[in-house]
Symmetry: C3
Subunit: 301 residues, 3 copies
Amino acid sequence: MRHVLSAPQFDKAELLEILSQAAEMEKILITKGNSDMAKGKILATFFYEPSTRTRLSFETAMNRLGGKVISVSDGRSSSAKKGETVEDTMLVISGYADVIAMRSSEIGFAERASKTSRVPIINGGDGPGEHPTQSLLDLYTIQKQFGFERPLRIAFVGDLKYGRTVHSLSKILRNFDNFSVDWVAPKELDIQDEYFDPVKDRKWNELSDEVLKEADIIYMTRIQQERFDDRSEYERLKNVFILDAAKVSKMKSDAIILHPLPRVDEIATDVDALPQAKYFEQARNGVPLRMALIARALELI
Amino acid sequence: MRHVLSAPQFDKAELLEILSQAAEMEKILITKGNSDMAKGKILATFFYEPSTRTRLSFETAMNRLGGKVISVSDGRSSSAKKGETVEDTMLVISGYADVIAMRSSEIGFAERASKTSRVPIINGGDGPGEHPTQSLLDLYTIQKQFGFERPLRIAFVGDLKYGRTVHSLSKILRNFDNFSVDWVAPKELDIQDEYFDPVKDRKWNELSDEVLKEADIIYMTRIQQERFDDRSEYERLKNVFILDAAKVSKMKSDAIILHPLPRVDEIATDVDALPQAKYFEQARNGVPLRMALIARALELI
Amino acid sequence: MRHVLSAPQFDKAELLEILSQAAEMEKILITKGNSDMAKGKILATFFYEPSTRTRLSFETAMNRLGGKVISVSDGRSSSAKKGETVEDTMLVISGYADVIAMRSSEIGFAERASKTSRVPIINGGDGPGEHPTQSLLDLYTIQKQFGFERPLRIAFVGDLKYGRTVHSLSKILRNFDNFSVDWVAPKELDIQDEYFDPVKDRKWNELSDEVLKEADIIYMTRIQQERFDDRSEYERLKNVFILDAAKVSKMKSDAIILHPLPRVDEIATDVDALPQAKYFEQARNGVPLRMALIARALELI
């Protein structure tokens, strides 16, 4: 079965195939608005942990494919409260739906669900673990802008220690040899060694002019206050890593700024109208990308 | 874009056009039950504040038009909890849906949402602010019974000071010159001067026989205990403004009783079976009216 | 109107008709996956008390019939919180939908709702009262395995005193003369006299080898800790009534094990892979069974 459990499960050929299928889906959205491809099929969105954006993106994708949706969005399944295991719940839900998109705050949950499910599971985020559809839509956004031929410098900025999306995206970028990475974080939130390539990468403790000028892609993430014992340290650092229009003016004109959203104040709103701001387009790219993953799971493509 | 943000945004010509489109939609409901007009389109219902009735009415309308629905019904968006602004949330959601119906407890929320949304916003109530679709379905119910030719006396009864639906409906009725208003409220909850027309209107502090006998339309609203410092004052007044079968027997036979619902005890259940009771039909009128507004927003009509 | 309020409302002829219609629906699911039978129709699922499994099963059924769904899943209606009666709520909701499936924690709630509803009500469980669709899917599962010709011995095991599903199923089985019942429960949770047939039934205080060997059907239910004053008594008894692979090895090879789910630990997971384990298939049978009930309510069959 075509489960989607983690970003690194895909090799380069599969990644390129998925991106090409997402591009096909985007063409359908632009020319016809929707498809009847999944007519009669049901997606279950099963979100133990609420996530407006991700759930609605999956449901939009299924609706645009002509399928239907059943949904648990309230964060806790009534069955789970009665003591049912995820294995049992998924065995039952997979007797209703043709494909399941799920989220949980517990690492490895989607993997466990896939053991008993009778239909494909798509992991919509399992706590600090994986969020593969986010990484794939990040990759799709990068491909649309640059392709994978020319050398590209991507700067990951913010919370590199705990940032799930940073870890997943950086892992799948290693499938392509045209990326070198600038890791930009306060010392407390530095990237772990396993992600750092000493040959191609650089580390920074501020969002320096050099980083800004050389970056093709800046991938911003939020620094969360709860990571710091010292509140004043947080306040000081937070501002160092904010991206505003003044900083963006130093960037290349064809560089792009990405963010997994929601954005709080790590990107100033004066950036939103600049040509480099691609984070809302990035969110929209989630729809064709998830259409492709659902269609693959249903073996329609 | 055809946002629906407030009742007073529409002039008389537009109001009549909307009512006529609602009548067309009602004809479709009666003859065919549903339409394929909005096939492939998606409505997002985004309710920061829960509202069973209004949300389900919008979703029914979109389903009867042949479209699909994605929904946030749990009163708080997970994105909002993470600190995302409504402007950002709406920018993202409007990348998924073709039209958005929203509710919030915060005045001006729909207006703010409309600033960034890429698709039309329909305001499903913004706290003490506006609830335009309620006013339009009220107007549609009045038109179906009486038209706008003959002089009509409408009595607004109950909480006239805080009643959002009273304010909105009375404002749009001023587009038509055939209405005179009886304002019936305890002194504490009297109508503000800006709504009162000294030439055509009258004020009352009880639901008198004169009001009952002369009214073509009685628009009931609930008096809420929390508006009073003195509980005994509330108990005394509450009963004065209750409409029961004995009082209805004094009304004209072709007069109608409206109520935005939910009704608690301000209309006794012995009124429900009387011919003047139109409040449940009024609620049902919300479906064709909202079908018309959605179809307008999608530029299908 | 074709309300479904309680299991005993159906006589034998109606039960057989419903089961035959469920079999037709299952054939549609297997051969085509779905139908357009209910195109343009709307099911409202109105769950005052959350129930993931039952709600999703109803919604799946309606989607597989080609219809649409509007839903209140959050356990409390915002209207109810404002003081609206269920009679008023149902009058309004039945102005939107063509059929309503509802659950409440309050006994008799669906019956009350049916008094004012303009469309058929299907009871999805009213607290300690009735849960007719569960009983019907239990019966359907039994019929699929055995039919109603040969004598069958069914053992109800666990909480027979409070178990709603046990009460309902045992009542409808009395329509068929081929069943004799073994009632297996701790003394504290014994079956009431009204359900016990002294001619055909037997009572047991343990899950004995004799019961295991002779049963054609074992219907397991959970023993809840809150039923016992003495925790140690609960711990002792709980284990006596657990079904595991060792016990199942004593059963007939064509016997079946049913459970209304969720299962906690009253059936060990080592039973799941055994041929007698039918409880997940039983849950899946809820979809064609509910398709039949919805199609009947809509007078499509």
